[in-house]
Every structure is written in structure tokens, then in C-alpha cells.
Symmetry: C3
């Protein structure tokens, strides 16, 4: 029995039982999405060397998870983007414009870090989403 | 029509239409402030080489945004501070004491990263605020 | 008089009055835990060179704080883990399994940063918890 005060959200991809985190959790109308890199269900990196392809795949994974709660990318209220170079980060703005479809834009934070959680990853994104009333 | 479940908050400074994020978003009584560096409305860095001046300017920007929601710095419940050196970070404690005005203090996280989103920035702060009932 | 819209949570360890942040704050049913390293009440590092011992001590501090709000580690909905090497980070999975006790797992984000807030720290964790209805 789940006595924890939140619900885990999993997209329909198989989830590795060795992992000790959920792709996302929902508490009330807020959804917290785990820091995510462009790994597919088999653990292979998608978009090697291409930060935009990686970011796109990450948002596809977010969309699949948010869909389970009746939402989508337009429910994202905040993203934190961890990247390895500032130059790379600047390349992702057009993708955000495409995926979020115009204002109101989510809040956003970007920082350059020393390493990401998956070898070959150029970007790792965590996000918070909110469901409407 | 905004069908997204949140509201964007902008201070009265002109906002660059090329940007794909909001300075802050409000959902319910929570306000999520974007990771912010000490850039003014024209994109110029304020407080070059001076982390305390930069942090002060960032909090002035936060205050302007929070004011739009009827709040101020005392509504900040959490900050995440990204800095380039730990020595720099220690210099900002007195500013926090001045601006937050004593307990209860917000929660706070500080980490040293490899780079910030604006050249010349010594600190980047993201924050969450809560409006009272 | 506290006119701020949140409550600070302190465990029963003495809190250094020079600090300008709270270990955790509660607003509504959400609790925001500050980025925490393995320092004891006297400021000494626990678990030098041992990331698992450090992470365990951090979660003990989280548990003490969450207990004040009637909760515990099972209330944690999200963690952000800042580490210095990816190899170190992988060592903490078994601890998470032990402490969170199985699904639903919290959301989780891990990134490799250049430095943490306490000399000798190998991991710094921030977290969000939610109290049940």
C-alpha cells in the first residue's frame, strides 16, 4: 500500500527496477519531473553530440509523463537546465520557442556544470509542472 | 488566450521578446523566479567583479517582480545560489541578513558551478516565493 | 512577530545565529529543505571521504527536521543531489533504496558540480517534501 503523500508518474516505457527514483511525482496539482537526459528506454543516448536533439528527446519524455496526468508541455511552469557549455545552451532557445508555443513562458534557470548524470549527455533538464483547476 | 495554468510576472522593465522564459511565474500562491544574474534591462552587467553588488541587483529585480503579485522579498521561501567560488559565496551572507531582515530565514542552497548564464556574472540566483493567505 | 508566509523548521540541534537561512521552511503542506552537507551541530564534517556515510548523515538531518512537521523521509517528493564525481554519485543508490523503502520513489536530479558549500563535502542534497492531507 502506498502511504506516501505523492503519486509516481511513469510513461509507458519500461522502467528499470534498479532505479531508485521516479521520472516524475505528483502532489496536489504540482508535478515534479526528475532531472532527465536523453536516454531511451534501453539506456541508449539519443542525439549524440547534438544538444538540440537531446533537449527535444527530453521534452518528449516529459510530454509522455505529463500526459499521464492529463497534461502536456504547456503545463510546465519552470525548468532548470544543466549544460556543459554556455554556447550549447544558447542553441536550445529556438526549441523552447517551438515547444512552449509562446507566452506565458515558464520560468527558467540555466547553469553550466562540470558533468551530467549520463555519459555523452550535453544537457539535463528538471522541471516543475502544474495542472489547471 | 492564455490557456496555461500559470501567470507570468514581469517587472516594468522592457522584456526582450526574443527570450523564451518569464522572469517569474505564479501558480496558486507560489511564485517561481527564474535563475537571474545582474543584468539590467539593456542587458548590461551591473556590479562587475563585485558579487555583493550583483546579488543586491538580483534581489532588486526579484523585489520588482514580487511587488507585481503584492509581495516582496519577505515572501521568498527558498533560494538556490549558483556561484563560481566558495569565497565569493561567503561574502553574500551579510546581504541576505540585510534584505531578509531576520528570521524566519528562507531555505537556501549554494553550489559552486563551472559557469553562469551571463558573461561576467559571479552569482546566479533562483528562488521560490509564497504569498500569504 | 513573524509576518512571513512560511514557518522555519529547525531540528533540536543548536542553530548558529550567524546563519542566514533555515534548515527547512514549511508553506502549506510543502516543505523545502535547504541544500545540506554532512556537517554536525558543531560544524564538523561527518564521513570524511565516504559519500555514503555523508549522504546517510544528511538524510538523518532531513529526518530530524521533517519529524518536527509530523513527517519523515517517506514525505520526500524530490531530491537534487550535487556531487563532485559521477562515480561517487552511483554509490548512493543503495542508500536511497534503504531509506526510501521502495516505490513510489521521489523524483530525483543529480548533477556534477565544481564545488560544494562545505570543504570536504562529497555530496550536497536539497529536497522538497509534502505532508499528507
Amino acid at each position: 500500500m502506498n502511504t506516501k503523500p505523492f503519486k509516481a508518474l511513469f510513461s509507458d516505457q519500461p522502467w528499470n527496477p534498479r532505479l531508485t527514483y521516479s521520472p516524475a511525482v505528483q502532489v496536489g496539482n504540482l508535478i515534479f519531473l526528475s532531472g532527465t537526459t536523453a536516454g531511451d528506454a534501453e539506456g541508449n543516448l539519443i542525439g549524440a553530440g547534438d544538444i538540440v536533439a537531446q533537449a527535444r528527446f527530453i521534452f518528449e519524455k516529459f510530454e509522455a509523463v505529463l500526459k499521464l496526468a492529463g497534461g502536456g508541455l504547456s503545463n510546465i511552469i519552470e525548468t532548470t537546465d544543466y549544460v556543459l557549455t554556455l554556447d550549447d545552451y544558447n542553441k536550445t532557445a529556438a526549441l523552447r520557442r517551438e515547444l512552449f508555443g509562446g507566452p506565458p513562458w515558464p520560468a527558467s534557470t540555466g547553469v553550466v556544470v562540470s558533468g551530467l548524470i549520463r555519459p555523452g549527455a550535453l544537457i539535463e533538464i528538471k522541471a516543475i509542472a502544474a495542472l489547471g483547476d
